[in-house]
């Protein structure tokens, strides 16, 4: 292999892509579950089957891919070695084993000791993954905005996993039942806004300018935007837990949205100044994720005024809000995978041949045409599910889930096919 910073410090290719493959194979399961029973998206906010669907998405798709990406990004971009590759493998196994038990128990509505064991396995896996990365970050010599946000994201991941475990144990051995729902809202937002929001801000700050050849957003303004997001989030937590009066919740929601909006505006400005004017399918997904985030922010503002909505619309808009937040992350991840994964495969297969013989480019090893064909399916399926949630209509939910099942299976086939690609030089 070529001697050099990235090659020396990057973890084994197999560790990173196994995380990606696990996530890609589990995303279609989300839509298969909703095809079997769409009631999680028409019923109450925290039904057991909704918990099953949400955790398959979060622990089955999002967590493996984001953690796998961090295993690659932290060493290569921040210049530190992953503390333990073995711990990386163990964490993935624990999360997936725990998820299998959690999803089955949630889906069947069985809050038995088996759920406690499964949740403990999953939380242990997340603790192990986060600790492994945090231990690596100790050796970072030069902190960038992206690096700080990744560190913050890991603290949020630890918090979300810890609270999630406490909540799961509370379902099996109730010990704070009166507060369960407010803690559940805190848990969901620690994961979706705290953990994933930090990862998204930290990663896009570097990756979007890199892929588009645009200027990096200014670090100080980006940090201000992130502070607004986190400050708003903690005001919301304080309100939900009854520590602060309700008005603080409204201030928190506005601060959070202002922070997300400011950061999005910085990215849009960088995007507008990009040298690469072509918008490929990966970047189209990023733009679609931005639109979903905008819609989620709009619904979050609506939720600040529940008295005007009535209980039915509070439930439907909250479900739509959650779907859009998840949709933002899922679509963004797929878009980033279209950009990152071909590069990783290229690096693994061809980096040591550069300068010795002609090598393919990333475009030669990834079918942009197939990705372009799948993109409208992601958008159409997502919109049909969204309208299904707002209309409370199971037929629409099933139709949207079917479309997303097909296109997500296609995405998995495309990307796993890229990983498994062989050429004459592979022997």
């Amino acid at each position: 292999m070529i001697p050099g910073l990235a090659t020396q410090l990057a973890p084994p290719f197999r560790l990173v892509v196994t995380h990606f493959i696990a996530g890609l194979l589990l995303l279609p399961l989300v839509w298969a579950l909703l095809l079997v029973d769409p009631s999680p998206l028409t019923g109450g906010l925290f039904g057991n089957r909704l918990l099953a669907v949400v955790h398959v998405t979060a622990l089955g798709f999002i967590a493996p891919i984001v953690i796998g990406a961090l295993y690659q990004i932290v060493p290569v971009v921040l210049g530190v070695r992953l503390t333990s590759v073995t711990a990386g493998w163990a964490a993935l196994a624990l999360v997936l084993a725990g998820l299998a038990g959690m999803a089955a128990h949630f889906w069947m509505g069985r809050f038995s000791p088996g759920l406690a064991i499964a949740s403990t396995l999953a939380a242990t896996g997340l603790f192990l993954a986060a600790s492994n990365l945090i231990a690596s970050l100790r050796f970072v010599q030069s902190w960038s905005f992206g690096g700080v946000l990744i560190a913050v994201s890991l603290l949020f991941l630890l918090s979300a996993a810890g609270l999630g475990l406490a909540l799961a144990l509370n379902l099996v051995f109730p010990y704070f039942s009166s507060d369960h729902i407010s803690w559940l809202k805190v848990h969901a937002h620690l994961a979706l806004v705290g953990w994933l929001g930090s990862v998204v801000m930290g990663a896009t700050h570097k990756l979007i300018p890199m892929f588009t050849l645009g200027p990096e957003p200014p670090a100080k303004t980006s940090a201000g935007a992130a502070a607004l997001v986190f400050g708003g989030l903690f005001l919301l937590f304080a309100t939900w837990r009854g520590i602060a009066p309700p008005a603080f919740g409204s201030i928190g929601a506005v601060a959070l949205i202002a922070g997300a909006g400011t950061y999005s505006a910085l990215l849009v400005r960088s995007f507008a100044k990009r040298a690469r004017k072509e918008i490929d399918t990966g970047l189209r997904h990023v733009l679609a994720a931005g639109a979903a985030l905008l819609a989620a922010c709009f619904l979050a503002l609506a939720a600040v005024f529940p008295d005007f909505l009535g209980p039915l619309w509070v439930v439907r808009l909250s479900l739509a809000y959650g779907f859009l937040l998840f949709g933002t992350v899922v679509v963004l991840i797929i878009g980033m995978l279209y950009k990152i994964l071909p590069f990783l495969v290229w690096y693994h297969r061809y980096a040591d041949r550069v300068g010795l013989e002609p090598v393919p480019t990333t475009r030669d090893i990834f079918s942009e045409g197939t990705a372009r064909l799948l993109f409208p399916g992601h958008i159409t399926g997502g919109l049909v599910v969204l309208f299904g949630i707002l209309a409370g209509e199971p037929i629409l939910l099933r139709a949207g889930a079917l479309v997303l099942l097909v296109v997500n299976a296609g995405t998995a086939r495309l990307l796993i096919g890229t990983i498994a690609r062989r050429d004459d030089g592979d022997g």
Partner: protein, 98 residues
Amino acid sequence: MATVDEVRNALRQVIDPEIGHNLVDLGLIYGIDVEDDRVGVTMTFSTPGCPMHDVLVTGVERVVRALPGVSKVDVRVVWDPPWHPGMMADSVRKALGR
């Protein structure tokens, strides 16, 4: 002894795999010095912390060392002046849609 033009032409063999254009036309090669059998290449990247850093530097060393009469190659990566899209060749700018 290789000429500066020969070195520049050799560097056109090193392609940024993500952008699909060679380092010379991308404007990443800032300078080439030839002195007897020693060649110095001063270059940059489009972004600090570029994950292609080591691969492309090694690629530059290899294609230059393969030239007849070259026995030592010194690649220096600099960040000043910072790269900007205006440094790209017209053909690349057009291909990227500018």
